[in-house]
């Protein structure tokens, strides 16, 4: 998965979660980031992850005047603390 593909996947997921059209979700920034583990520091319930520093992208999206964070690497995209919880998408 490329950075662009990851951002697109995140936008679709956020639009779906908020019940909006994709056009109502804007990409604020996509930044190369080192995450603390292979769950990108966004592990979900019942999950264990490799404790290796993992290069990926921090994706900031804006919708309805609020900012939402997604984390991604070549293998995965995760919603970070969406309403207090992490989700693999």
């Amino acid at each position: 998965m490329t950075k662009e593909e990851a951002s697109e996947k995140a936008r679709k997921d956020l639009a779906n979660r908020l019940g909006l059209n994709e056009s109502q979700v804007a990409e604020q920034s996509v930044v190369d980031t080192d995450f603390p583990d292979m769950a990108l520091g966004a592990g979900s319930a019942g999950e264990m992850s490799g404790q290796m520093i993992t290069r990926g992208w921090k994706i900031q999206l804006e919708a309805g005047g609020k900012t939402f964070e997604y984390r991604a690497d070549k293998n995965q995209v995760r919603a970070y603390k969406f309403n207090g919880k992490n989700y693999k998408i």
Binding site: P36, D37, M38, A39, G41, G43, A45, G46, E47, M48, S49, G50, Q51, M52, I53, T54, N75, Q76
Partner: protein, 467 residues
């Protein structure tokens, strides 16, 4: 004395002086002849002391024990070197053929080696001169083993030469440990991870193969698995092939084949790595699959496989009673459980990280160090809950596609400790799991950077551990 006797007396005195002078010169010539025979001897490098009467005045040294190594400048001839050494009442004991101009020189005046070296250093024809020192059995250069794996010089965790901004000696003293043991193919280490690329050319020889004497794995609910090279808990299959790279990296740290002219050397040159897969291509998995995989290891141990260590480079902040229970069962089966402390830069005493924070006697929680013996910026710590530290930044190891990559994390520090545990088990096969844990924690090099940070306060030292 009258005038008539004066001339005969003078003549007699002159004769005596000439005789004495001739005798002295004769002795000097004799010594020179002996020395000439000793200059750059091609075959006789271990001559005994000069023991004839003529040499007696100078014979205060063992000619087989030269005091100084002197490197003469290019262009200084053998004759010139001979003149210099004779002029200083020394002799060339041996020429070091591989370094032109370098000679081992024996002082005949009973002077100290340092003063003789200083004397030579003051000469314009000398490039350098140094006193010969004894190398004892305890000395690193005398009791270390360096593998011929071509990328060994990049493995700072095993032997840190101070390059790339590192600190020389900030390593686990692997080369010293290898003078005692390089591991054993009788010791099995389970790598509980994303699987292992068991076809990697630097790992293939050290991958566990179920012996014919051990029956295939049977689970009442899951059925029979023809487990040739370990277990895949995600698919409940016999194929633990790694799709991520993380498990292959950890396996290489523990046991990439050493001395095979390929890539790197593991902490163990010889070992049996049992690949276990519970994390997917993304590098994450479920507690349920982790439990299933540990259950497999315990079963294999009970079936007669000599599994001594489980290496667990993973975790989360979620506590699982099931995971805790099965790790306790591994303890009862005599298996050490080495676990990553986590990469959140937090204190595990306050915010536990599992499985490393389980209070079970076989669990060792591992923090990560950089190449300067500093706690890695990402590493978790905890003076009560984190036991030991090991190198975990920019660690070179095996990767998918027969490749090698540098990775960082307590994931990388964990297999270093698991690997040293396997070395100890190779050297001391009867050691119990409790003794093994104690041995590792008591074999650390104390570091100021770890004071008040982790329980042992030090970096693991493989050489101390195998003593």
């Amino acid at each position: 004395m009258n005038r008539n006797n004066f001339l005969p007396h003078i003549a007699l005195a002159l004769v005596l002086i000439l005789v004495a002078a001739f005798a002295g010169q004769l002795r000097r010539w004799q010594i020179q002849m002996k020395n000439r025979a000793r200059i750059f001897p091609a075959a006789d490098k271990r001559r005994g002391p000069i023991n004839n009467i003529d040499a007696a005045p100078y014979d205060t040294h063992d000619s087989s024990a030269p005091e100084v190594l002197v490197k003469f400048k290019p262009g200084v001839t053998e004759d010139a070197i001979e003149k210099i050494t004779l002029g200083l009442h020394d002799r060339v004991e041996d020429e070091i053929e591989s370094v032109p101009g370098l000679a081992a020189i024996d002082d005949l005046d009973d002077a100290s080696a340092e003063s003789v070296a200083a004397q030579y250093r003051s000469l314009p024809d000398v490039e350098y001169a140094e006193a010969v020192f004894e190398i004892s059995a305890d000395d690193a250069s005398a009791s270390s083993v360096t593998p011929r794996d071509p990328r060994f010089s990049e493995q700072w965790a095993l032997s840190n030469d101070g390059s790339r901004g590192g600190t020389k000696g900030a390593d686990i003293s692997a080369t010293k440990a290898w003078s005692v043991t390089t591991g054993s193919d009788k010791v099995v280490v389970a790598v509980l991870d994303s699987g292992v690329d068991y076809t990697h050319s630097d790992l293939a020889s050290n991958i566990w193969v179920r012996p014919n004497s051990v029956k295939p794995y049977e689970d009442k609910e899951l059925g029979t698995i023809q487990d040739l090279h370990g277990y895949n808990a995600i698919e409940n299959s016999a194929d633990p092939m790694d799709e991520n790279g993380h498990g292959t990296h950890c396996a290489g740290i523990i046991g990439a084949e050493g001395g095979n002219d390929i890539g790197i050397a593991g902490v163990n040159w010889k070992v049996q790595i049992m690949p276990l897969k519970f994390m997917n291509a993304g590098g994450y998995g479920t507690t349920k699959d982790a439990v299933e995989a540990i259950n497999y290891v315990i079963d294999r141990k009970k079936a007669g496989v000599n599994v001594r260590v489980i290496s667990a480079s993973w975790g989360s902040t979620q506590k699982s009673r099931a995971l805790e229970d099965v790790i306790r069962k591994a303890y009862e089966a005599g298996i050490l459980f080495v676990a990553a402390s986590g990469n959140a830069s937090t204190n595990n005493d306050r915010n536990p990280h599992y499985p490393s924070s389980y209070n079970i006697p076989n669990v060792i929680s591992v923090a990560a160090l950089d190449r300067n013996d500093q706690l890695a910026s990402f590493s978790n710590y905890g003076v009560k809950s984190v036991a030991i530290a090991a190198p975990g930044v920019d660690i070179l190891s095996t990767w998918l596609g027969d490749e090698y990559e540098e990775k960082s994390g307590t994931s990388m520090a964990t297999p270093v400790v698991a690997g040293v545990a396997a070395l100890v088990a190779a050297h001391d096969p009867k050691i119990t799991v409790d003794e093994l844990r104690t041995r590792l924690l008591s074999s650390v090099d104390p570091l100021n950077s770890l004071k008040g940070k982790i329980a042992s306060g030090g970096r693991i030292n493989a050489a101390k551990a195998v003593q």
